[in-house]
Amino acid sequence: MLRLLLVQFGLDQDRLELAWISAGEAEKFSTTINGFIDRIIELGPSPYRLEGKSVKEAVSV
């Protein structure tokens, strides 16, 4: 539901991830986090961070 909401706000749905990892699954933890970081870097800064630019510029992303 949070994902649906964030998409409505204009954020790409890949910016939200939920993973269930126990303290003993170290490798899964680092792969998940690194994969997520790569995805986010690809997506670029959040449209909400484009402060200083006019809203119009931010919206045309």
Partner: protein, 334 residues
């Protein structure tokens, strides 16, 4: 007999439901006018902006400002009345949290202009004519229209606000309470409440809801009021309906619940909450009954289940979008 205090009712981006709510005091208004003179009140009196400009700072004892701040005129009125008033109250959900006009933050000013002046089915505007905010007529008259802001703001985004009264509109009982505070203050019997106070319960609506609260609530299927027959006795959450009660302040006498409609959150969030919609989202999703253990729930099943909540943004932020953490939508819709 001591001199009457001056009061005013100012408008922002409003539907004027709050003006009607004040008038619904009907006979009790006589008590008000025994101690107060209504000065600026566009819907009731003919006093102009220049008359208010001519008043001394703080000459008006109390102003109720209703409506959101959506254009330059709304902001001008807010700043003018703040200057001329001792006490300024953000009256109604729009002034307090943004209200329904606040939902315009899902779009942009340009989209709004395009829709209004071109895209609607009955509009013919091949030359893309737009209204001008400044125009000098051939005879030399200067005409002005307010400029629309890029986003909707609340009253306390533009001026210092003394008190807040939420609800859409404030109920008669809330108005009677407000009236009593005014009367007590004028007669010297009572003091003003501490600044920043909101006229509402500290607790949520669930406390005062007359319906029986079940031990456990599980939502089998999310339902919507427009296609569900509503049971007048059961808790709405039990019926799968998203009722804003758990996340919203009480103090409105559960008026909506009493006519078999779920709460929509117009009294705003409790003090402990930063974001009204997120608070309700959290409460509602915590009672979802989805099969399987936490690690096994198939993504598709969850998606199907959640789809039944049409328009999460509009439902969760119906009255409080400008006060939410994200405040507005960033990408263009469609």
């Amino acid at each position: 007999m001591s001199e009457k205090i001056k009061i005013a009712i100012a408008q922002g981006a409003t539907c004027s439901g709050c003006d009607i709510a004040i008038l619904d005091l009907d006979v009790d208004l006589l008590k008000l006018f025994e101690v107060a003179d209504l000065t600026f009140a566009p819907i009731l009196t003919d006093i102009k902006f220049k008359d208010v400009e001519a008043m001394k700072d703080g000459e008006i004892t109390l102003t109720l400002y209703h409506g959101a701040v959506r254009n330059t005129e709304n902001e001008y009125v807010a700043k003018l009345l703040r200057k001329k008033s001792k006490i300024l109250i953000a009256y109604g959900a729009c002034a307090a949290f943004g209200g329904i006009p606040g939902l315009a933050n899902v779009t942009t000013r340009e989209n709004i202009m395009n829709t209004v002046y071109e895209d609607t089915a009955s509009t013919v505007n091949p030359e893309h004519v737009r209204p001008q905010t400044k125009y000098v007529t051939p005879e030399g008259h200067k005409l002005e229209l307010p400029e629309l802001f890029e986003e909707v703001k609340t009253l306390d985004d533009v001026v210092d606000v003394d008190y807040i009264i939420g609800a859409c509109p404030p109920t008669r009982e809330m108005n009677v309470q407000l009236l009593q505070v005014i009367l007590d203050f004028v007669s010297g019997k009572g003091e003003l409440p501490p600044k920043g106070m909101i006229l509402a319960c500290e607790r949520t609506l669930c406390e005062e809801c007359p319906r029986e609260k079940p031990e456990k609530v599980y939502v089998d299927e999310i339902k919507s009021v427009d296609y569900t027959e509503l049971d007048p006795e059961k808790c709405f959450l039990e019926q799968g309906i998203l009722c804003f009660g758990p996340a919203t302040r009480g103090g409105c006498d559960s008026k909506c619940i009493n006519v078999n409609m779920p709460c929509r959150g117009c009294m705003g969030p409790t003090a402990a909450v930063m974001d009204h919609g997120a608070s309700m989202l959290s409460a509602f999703s915590s009672i979802m009954k989805i099969s399987g253990t936490e690690t096994e729930i198939p993504e598709e099943e969850i998606a199907e289940f959640m789809k039944k909540l049409r328009d999460p943004l509009g439902t969760l932020y119906r009255f409080t979008l400008p006060k939410s953490l994200l405040k507005r939508v960033v990408k263009e819709q469609k």
